[in-house]
Symmetry: C2
Subunit: 207 residues, 2 copies
DNA sequence: TGTTGATTTGACCATCTGGTCAAGATAAGC
DNA sequence: GCTTATCTTGACCAGATGGTCAAATCAACA
């Protein structure tokens, strides 16, 4: 996201590789144990580096965590940004749902990291929530309201419609153990979820 | 749940009161910071007791946490247990949704404690999930499937129907900060959610 | 009131944890 | 190969944290 130019910081190949390795390891550990539950030793072990070496690449434990979180917000917002005002309303909303569910399936650790942060009151993300997130949601909700006012989808509160999409799709990543425990073996929760949410939102939005 | 008889352990009034005070304080702290993020000193301060005194009433930090979790499961299952096979299907399901949302509104700390535990892989609850929870859900899903096979509600996967109820209702407790950040001031998320989920499930279940 | 058992706590301990530092190993340019 | 800048680490530190313990305080009851 930053340091794309060769100037500001040299960013040798070793630096690039090791910072990446560390972030990957930190994601694994933070998403499983939360910020305070994770230790630098765990992350170092996961990354195959020594603890002082971690701190050569990142100023502190908090700095690693922040870097992960800031990288997250964009991944989070992109699918919603992609909702096209000129598309067919139901198709656009369903595409958003499907895309969000794919993200839960493919990036469950990121989803849990995010959930951990919000659960604990979002101490490091509140500004982003009230800023970028809110304004994007406001914009898309205006769009959705336009669609329902024009009778192209059923009348529904657009904000809570979006909340429901977040809740449903993230549930399969964040509560994975519970879902699997209840379904028992021999199930593909995400495949089933895909069919379920499609049905749900089609019935909800049908005029 | 245990020690209802006066015999096994005396349980003086002081003991009863202090154990309760400690559990209340621990709920506050654990739900806000997670198990590892919470400290005995924090809990002691919140309870207005000294740390050694906590450990006079509970064997360890873990013991406090376990007691909270075990108390939780029942509160969690009760609304689902209350689903009446002889009632009107849509009304029964909507009542369940409403009851679950009330719990999110009235016991958000319990909801977050639970979410924290599941998020981190449910290390201390997996047996309960695969046991009591699964069998109750299996039972109620059979019931719901009966309803939809009889044409009394629309065809829908009962397991994912229940997951959707959990996801939606708990979202308002667990992601409270996010919901409020997006809605902005002047909203009552739970009141709005109540209307939203009612609409959603009515449209989903209508034959 | 004296005695006994329950309750409370200050002082303490071992371990863990985030972080530092100086010295050594390695890679890169000349 | 030599020099310089980058990278790596063993040893260490200060503070936090879960937990212990003996001694002190309190409550109840004979």
């Amino acid at each position: 996201m930053k340091d794309d130019q060769p100037n500001p910081r040299p960013q040798t190949r070793i630096q690039q590789r090791n910072r990446q390795t560390i972030l990957e390891a930190a994601l694994e550990v933070f998403s499983a144990y939360g910020f305070r539950g994770a230790t630098l030793d765990q992350i170092a072990a996961e990354a195959g580096l020594s603890k002082p070496n971690l701190l050569y690449y990142f100023a502190s434990k908090e700095a690693i965590h922040l870097e992960l979180l800031s990288g997250l917000m964009d991944t989070w917002l992109d699918p919603l940004r992609a909702m096209n005002p000129d598309g067919e309303p139901t198709a656009e909303i369903l595409a958003y749902v499907r895309r969000k569910l794919e993200i839960s399936r493919d990036f469950p650790r990121e989803s849990r990291l995010f959930a951990n942060e919000i659960l604990q009151g979002a101490p490091r993300m509140q500004p982003a929530l009230e800023g970028d997130l809110k304004s994007l949601v406001d914009e898309k909700c205006a769009l959705i309201r336009g669609w329902s006012d024009a009778g192209r989808i059923a009348q529904i509160d657009p904000y809570h419609l979006i909340f429901s999409i977040w809740a449903l799709t993230q549930h399969y990543a964040d509560f994975d153990v519970q879902v699997r425990a209840v379904l028992g073996p021999g199930h593909d929760p995400f495949a089933e979820a895909d069919r379920f949410v499609e049905t749900l939102y089609q019935r909800l939005l049908k005029t």
